[in-house]
């Protein structure tokens, strides 16, 4: 080997610094620019999922309910 331990340590340190710098750059690049407030809110909404337990709770609650009355338009059009 042509490098002594102190040089290897220096190289390793430099490599680590480079990787950290790269990761930081990626992180900044991963940031988004939204064309409007609505776009930002739409993105936020798309990333927000209702917990699955709501559907389970609702199913349990609906089991205890009498069947819903049909509305006038459903009765008229056979919905």
């Amino acid at each position: 080997m042509d490098t002594n331990p102190s040089q290897r340590r220096l190289q390793h340190q430099q490599q680590q610094e480079q990787t950290t710098e790269q990761q930081t750059t990626n992180r900044v690049q991963a940031g988004r620019e939204f064309a409007s407030v609505e776009d930002l809110l739409r993105y936020d909404a798309s990333q927000t999922t209702p917990p699955a337990r709501i559907a389970e709770r609702l199913q349990d609650s609906l089991k205890a309910e009498p069947p819903p009355k049909r509305s006038w338009w459903q009765r008229l059009f056979g919905g």
Partner: protein, 188 residues
């Protein structure tokens, strides 16, 4: 860094309006639950309460289906129930008391649509900034922005939900967007 420009949205929303087709309750839930939950979450700012509100909205809709006259879309009808329910939750003394004392609930953020830990953090951080921003705005502005972000709603429907004219909605939206951008920048 997240940038938001105060550009005005496309005004012709009516052409994008989709007619809901509902065959069953599970389909109704699948089509609208995310939107109802999101509106509730960003209105009350608490995932646990948003969960309860979403459950109650669909249960109420089931109970009062006969009152749905078809003059508006199902989405609009569900939003009307959601807005009223959020207002009543926010108005209760008990709610104010719980929010002031129970930090654990606030720290327990809403579930996100991603499994990548870095993305989860990014999405959570963005969600927190959005929540802070909406909380800092007048309630009317926040509601208008949340409604206009739903592409299925026309300005006429937003006007009906917020009990004002479409022209008033447009005017207030302009100010709401500007206020949002200003407040959002403060959260950086």
């Amino acid at each position: 860094m997240t940038c938001v420009r105060s550009a005005s949205a496309t005004e012709d929303r009516n052409s994008r309006r989709a007619t809901p087709h509902v065959d069953s309750w599970s389909e109704l839930y699948e089509q609208h639950a995310q939107h109802v939950y999101y509106l509730a979450l960003r209105t009350v700012g608490d995932p646990t309460q948003a969960e309860d509100i979403t459950h109650d909205v669909f249960l109420k809709a089931f109970r009062h289906l006969d009152q749905f006259r078809g003059h508006s879309s199902i989405r609009t009808w569900l939003y009307r129930i959601t807005i009223n329910h959020c207002r009543s939750v926010q108005a209760t003394w008990q709610n104010r008391n719980i929010l002031a004392t129970d930090n654990a609930q606030i720290l327990d953020g809403p579930s996100t649509n991603t499994e990548d830990p870095f993305r989860v953090l990014e999405v959570q951080e963005l969600g927190e900034r959005i929540q802070k921003t909406l909380d800092a705005l007048p309630a009317e502005y926040s509601l208008l922005l949340l409604l206009v972000a739903d592409e299925q709603l026309s300005y006429q429907e937003i006007a009906s939900l917020t009990e004002q004219s479409p022209d008033a909605v447009r005017g207030k939206l302009y100010r709401a967007r500007k206020a949002f951008v200003t407040e959002f920048q403060k959260t950086e």
